[in-house]
Symmetry: C2
Subunit: 154 residues, 2 copies
DNA sequence: AAGACATCATTGCATATGCAACGAATTTTC
DNA sequence: GAAAATTCGTTGCATATGCAATGATGTCTT
């Protein structure tokens, strides 16, 4: 009679699930602040941050750097352009590319938004204490040992 | 002239973003296996696992235990019932509740599926090596210090 | 025991999402 | 240098999602 060990599986101990839960928890906490104070979503936030950081980028750049799908980036940018936070223009030499930049208004919003993000990061570090370093190391481990560019074949 | 330190923000060093990326990476890797071999999604998987583990539960139970929204659980269950993997019946004493259980077919699928999940967990542990324990401790830290039931007020 | 209140599951609706297909622009190949 | 192949961004479409509202049932208050 060796039969139902399978049924003993505990979701709470399953790393992919645990990661999904903690990621969702922090994201929601943060997203609420963005939404309440600035009316932006997480996709909005990611695009804006990348543009603030890079100074300017194409849709493809953002897709690669910010872990969002092509079409998601495209639609997010359309929304942000409509709101006047970013500007689209054609790339000088390669006309397939769309060159995206923050408008003055967008830059101004980032001046208010980024300190809030920095404060959130500080709060996370403070609350986690010694666990913070462990978490970050663990994350680095996953990033390096589950790199889609290298290993996503098996 | 003290002005644009804000623009120095690096998304790659922002813990909520990093967590979202690693969670998504592992989830996609796993979801592909579920989908290819069993035709189920992550919401499907979560419900099935909880039912395998608990023996039976209501929509509310699942919502609480599996970090999914009410309506998402409800629609997932409808799909799984249609596919013949779970059964719905009325709760004996409280007729507001829907009592959900695996069908024989559902149980059979879980017998094939759970070893795959266990193998995935083993793979994660093996690949991460010493970082695995760090990651798990970090996750525990977030779970305990960012508990929505306790703190989601600020 | 009746009305007020709370809980449970489902559904309607507006929006968001992923994927494939497309048109335009560029690069590669022969 | 022209045709084939590739890259880029957008859009159509089917599905998924979150939230609020609903209807059904249970519990609480007095």
């Amino acid at each position: 009679m060796t039969d139902d060990p399978p049924t003993e599986f505990d979701l709470m101990a399953f790393t992919p699930y645990r990661l999904a839960v903690v990621a969702q928890r922090l994201s929601e906490l943060l997203a609420r602040q963005y939404r309440d104070r600035f009316g932006i979503s997480i996709p909005d936030w990611r695009v804006l941050v990348h543009l603030a950081h890079s100074g300017g980028a194409s849709v493809r750049d953002i897709e690669a750097r910010v872990a969002m799908e092509k079409s998601k980036v495209s639609r997010t940018c359309k929304r942000l352009e409509t709101r006047g936070l970013i500007a689209k223009r054609a790339h000088d030499t390669d006309r397939r590319l769309v060159h995206l930049t923050l408008t003055d208004e967008g830059r101004q919003m980032m001046r208010d938004l980024l300190p809030l993000a920095a404060a959130f990061q500080g709060e996370v570090e403070a609350r986690l204490g010694a666990d913070f370093a462990r978490l970050e190391q663990g994350i680095d481990g996953v990033l390096s040992r589950f790199d889609p560019a290298v290993t996503e074949t098996d």
